[in-house]
């Protein structure tokens, strides 16, 4: 069955009609341009798969992004890292092709084909020139319905992942979020490291990965977004033929409901020792406001001012004025309940100064809020950057549609965003700052030289000390 969905996203209407053909005034636009959205078609294939079609003929490419529930959230059933390994295996041989042939056929025509796991889903991404559409759809169908899950490839993928984790430990910036997530969610699937860890990967079995595949691969759970140079009718027919109705064994078990536990905040410090480190890397924060909350637009503007752009208060104070770091940011992790974190680093010998100043910036922001000038600037910035960041290509639109779908949000979040941003007053935004940004006590992860950091960490909260070379990503109960 096929139905036309509501018109979906994008393309900012206002301003589009009148390019800067003359000497426009310098004042930032303050009117309230809405988001005019191109027609997007939603189709349910006979096998139960949902397809979102976003035609875009600017360049002769077609991009595909298929997502299905089954990310690291479900690793608990078979072992951490299972979803990541399963995602890799989807492109390591499928249908009539072994791993090498599959990859060679992608590359022969200059295509790209990737697959990866996140916390909540597994994603398969592919992009091909339009002239190679037949091959693209065949490979996509094979990967999503007939992966080989070959034993030799399983061993290769697993051992390569173990080695890559070892290499990642050499770069604290590459692993600090794994510690942070686990430290804030020690008893919850949201703390699960998507990549697993060395020991968990060693315990993983192919039988377990196959069991996960059987559980998560029901076509009804797959949403495929297609963007690019095609006709809606012919693409729908092509996909219906490529994904036929197949009688499948029932899922071996039902997917568990995703829990909604709050992060474990409080004055706790995970101190990760890296002897000889030149720099100290840090995260601090706590439970924040989730994007499903009606105050999301206010949060968007407020975080832009605190740590969401170059002139944010954090970057201004720590980088521009103090020269303590190359960058300081803040943000909310909406796949982990809206967890708020400040992210930065500094030279080992300026760690104390950094800790003090970073806290001071956030403390003052949460207590005092922002100014009218900051609000106006943030609003212009968010609106000015929205089109190139989110809406310029069909693939960007497709990705946003999938994000909305998997977050259980409807299109109004985007369609009405600019109006909601324009309607916010300073008082309202500052109320969101006060309610949606965590105040003290904050929770901390520090990676660096423990001999230097230990006395500083003691002042921040109860310290748990481990070494960067220790297996795993800090103390967790699951």
């Amino acid at each position: 069955m096929r139905r036309n969905a509501l018109p979906l996203l994008l393309v900012i209407a206002a301003g589009c009609a009148s390019p800067s053909t003359g000497e426009a005034p310098h004042a930032a636009p303050s009117s309230s341009p809405g988001l005019a959205l191109p027609a997007t078609t939603e189709v349910t294939l006979p096998n139960g798969m949902t397809v979102l079609l976003v035609p875009d003929d600017e360049v002769p490419l077609v991009s595909f992004q298929a997502r299905f529930s089954g990310g690291a959230h479900y690793d608990g059933h078979v072992g951490e890292g299972a979803a990541a390994v399963l995602a890799d295996l989807l492109r390591k041989g499928a249908g009539g092709r072994d791993a090498r042939t599959f990859q060679q056929d992608v590359e022969l025509v200059g295509g790209t084909f990737d697959s990866a796991a996140a916390l909540d889903w597994i994603v398969v991404d592919a992009e091909f020139l339009v002239e190679d559409l037949d091959l693209a759809v065949e490979l996509l169908s094979d990967a999503l319905t007939r992966p080989r899950l070959d034993p030799a490839e399983f061993e290769k993928v697993r051992s390569l992942r173990v080695d890559r984790l070892k290499a990642a430990r050499e770069e604290p910036n590459a692993v600090i979020d794994l510690y942070w997530n686990a430290w804030l969610y020690p008893d919850d699937v949201r703390g699960t490291p998507v990549a697993g860890d060395e020991a968990a990967l060693a315990r993983l079995t192919l039988a377990g990965v196959r069991r996960l595949w059987n559980t998560v691969s029901q076509p009804e759970g797959i949403v495929l977004a297609v963007a690019g140079d095609f006709e809606v009718e012919s693409m729908s027919a092509r996909l219906a033929a490529a994904f036929p109705v197949v009688k499948r064994p029932a899922a071996s078990q039902m997917l568990p409901a995703i829990s909604a536990e709050s992060p474990s905040g409080g004055a706790r410090v995970l101190l990760v020792d890296k002897p000889g480190a030149l720099q100290t890397y840090l995260r601090f924060g706590g439970p924040g406001l989730h994007w499903t909350h009606p105050d999301f637009p206010g949060r968007f503007l407020a975080n832009t001012i605190l740590g969401g752009r170059f002139t944010s208060r954090l970057n201004q104070a720590l980088r521009v004025e103090a020269g303590l770091t190359y960058g300081a940011r803040s943000g909310f992790d909406d796949w982990r309940g809206g967890l708020f974190a400040v992210r930065t680093y500094t030279a080992t010998d300026t760690s104390a100064e950094m800790l003090e100043q970073a806290q001071d910036v956030v403390r003052r922001f949460v207590i005092e809020g922002m100014t009218q000038a900051e609000l106006d600037s943030a609003r212009a910035y968010v609106k000015g950057q929205f089109a190139p960041d989110e809406l310029e290509t069909g693939a960007q639109v497709a990705g946003m549609l999938l994000d909305l779908r998997f977050a259980g949000r409807d299109l109004d979040v985007i369609e009405g965003l600019f109006q909601r941003l324009d309607a916010l007053t300073l008082d309202e935004v500052n109320r969101v700052v006060s309610a949606g940004f965590p105040g003290e006590p904050w929770t901390w992860v520090l990676i660096g030289r423990a001999d230097v950091l230990a006395p500083l960490a003691d002042e921040l909260g109860e310290v748990t000390r481990i070494r960067l070379s220790d297996p795993g990503w800090g103390p967790r109960s699951r």
């Binding site: 390019p19 170059f310 310029e392």
Partner: protein, 439 residues
């Protein structure tokens, strides 16, 4: 005299037997009397603009004692303009714009992304920092610390430390021998007079190309640029970089002993001609054949078959005005033997020189490069960068199509010839990172 030229580029032609034509890219050119070149591509798909200023100055223009200063300028250019220096970023962001910049051995590139209605303001700001710099000592010290932090972050990665030593060994005369970030002691030591001299010498309009892609009208852009930048005087002229790296006459080796538990690494480098040389297309193809994808030869050999390595990378090293390096860089598995990996690499290169790639391998390499060019056309940002890069490094923006033609023309014999000519032991520098016990 001002010249105005219009032309139409056709991308993605004649790569292999395929007949499909790629997208077109219209560019209009306008040269100011002071030497500034302006290139405009109109694209009204979103109401935004991507603006690039390519300055022909990079670490190649430095001398010992002030290494890293070109990169430092990349930072200072956001703070030093007379009118906007103190408010450059706040003004841009309050107008809905954002920016970035990057520095290479050869160029410094400034990027602004903003709503089209703000073009006059953005050109005011670019003109302001093109016109002159004020070096506030406090700002200089703060930015000095920021770039020091950037260097420390980079040096935290064992692979970056090895790369720095590899280039220092491969080049003995040419300024490619030091990294874009520069040596820490130089970062800590340059003076205000060094900064003033560097700006006056290199940040002159004849050394810049302005590229604008987006929802604009080209004639209006040219008029706006003339009004704001037309009276900026030319610079005093600068000495050409005449230093050439002498021919290498034997293998060079460097070793880094690491006690942090890092995985072993080996990086091999060979001297190759500059980006403008007709041979460069062969190196673009070689990168695809050897290392750039999962089915490339060395990935298959080292990661998939012998499973000696975790990752293989490298290739040609950015677009460069002077002869540079082609590298093959391997991250080994724990306890791996770098000598054994080297042996495997050299044996495969010899095989490639003897037998050449298969037609299928060559076709895949060409098609990947052609598709990558099409992908760059998806956004106004990709188009602006492509136009500027082709203008600066490939003999002019009209050569976008010619770049693909050159790749399509690479033959099996070309690959064999270039491997035999360049990838020799005599022309090779090898860096290894080995683990030692902590003291």
């Amino acid at each position: 005299m001002n010249r105005l030229a219009t032309a139409c580029l056709v991308l993605a032609v004649a790569a292999s037997a395929r007949s499909a034509e790629g997208p077109t890219l219209d560019v209009r050119q306008h040269d100011l009397e002071n030497g500034l070149r302006v290139l405009v591509h109109e694209d009204h798909s979103i109401p935004n603009v991507s603006l690039y200023v390519f300055w022909k100055v990079g670490s190649r223009n430095e001398v010992p004692g002030i290494t890293g200063i070109a990169h430092f300028f990349e930072h200072m250019m956001f703070t030093g303009g007379e009118e906007y220096g103190a408010v450059f970023d706040p003004t841009m962001e309050a107008a809905g714009g954002s920016n970035n910049a990057w520095t290479s051995n050869d160029v410094t590139v400034y990027q602004d992304w903003f709503p089209a209605a703000q073009l006059p303001l953005m050109l005011d700001m670019e003109a302001d920092r093109m016109r002159g710099m004020v070096f506030d000592p406090e700002v200089v010290e703060s930015e000095r610390n920021v770039v020091a932090s950037e260097r420390r972050l980079s040096m935290e990665e064992p692979g970056e430390r090895l790369t720095e030593q590899l280039w220092a060994a491969a080049f003995t005369a040419h300024p490619y021998q030091w990294s874009v970030l520069g040596w820490m002691i130089d970062i800590q030591s340059w003076k205000k007079s060094d900064l003033e001299e560097f700006f006056a010498t290199h940040y002159a309009p004849e050394n810049a190309t302005l590229v604008i892609a987006g929802a604009v009208d080209a004639d209006s852009v040219f008029a706006m640029v003339e009004k704001r930048m037309g009276d900026i005087p030319r610079g005093p002229g600068r000495r050409p970089i005449h230093t050439q790296e002498p021919e290498q006459t034997g293998e060079r080796r460097v070793t880094i002993e690491d006690d942090s538990g890092a995985l072993p690494q080996v990086k091999c480098a060979w001297h190759i001609p500059a980006t403008s040389d007709p041979e460069f297309a062969v190196h673009e193809v070689l990168e695809r054949l050897l290392i750039a994808s999962e089915s490339s030869r060395l990935h298959q050999l080292l990661v998939e078959q012998t499973r000696t390595c975790v990752e293989v990378g490298g290739g040609w090293q950015g677009h460069q005005f002077d002869p540079s390096l082609f590298t093959i860089e391997c991250l080994l598995r724990e306890g791996g033997d770098t000598a054994a990996v080297e042996k495997l690499i050299y044996a495969d290169l010899q095989r490639l020189a003897r037998e050449g790639p298969t037609e299928r391998e060559l076709r895949a390499a060409r098609n990947a490069l052609r598709a990558a060019a099409v992908r760059r056309m998806k956004t106004i940002d990709g188009k602006a960068e492509l136009i500027g890069e082709t203008e600066i490094f490939f003999g002019g923006w009209r050569n976008v199509g010619a770049r693909l033609d050159a790749i399509a023309a690479v033959t099996v014999e070309d690959v064999k010839r270039v491997i035999g000519l360049r990838f020799t032991q005599r022309n090779r520098t090898v860096g290894t990172l080995v683990s030692v016990e902590a003291k």
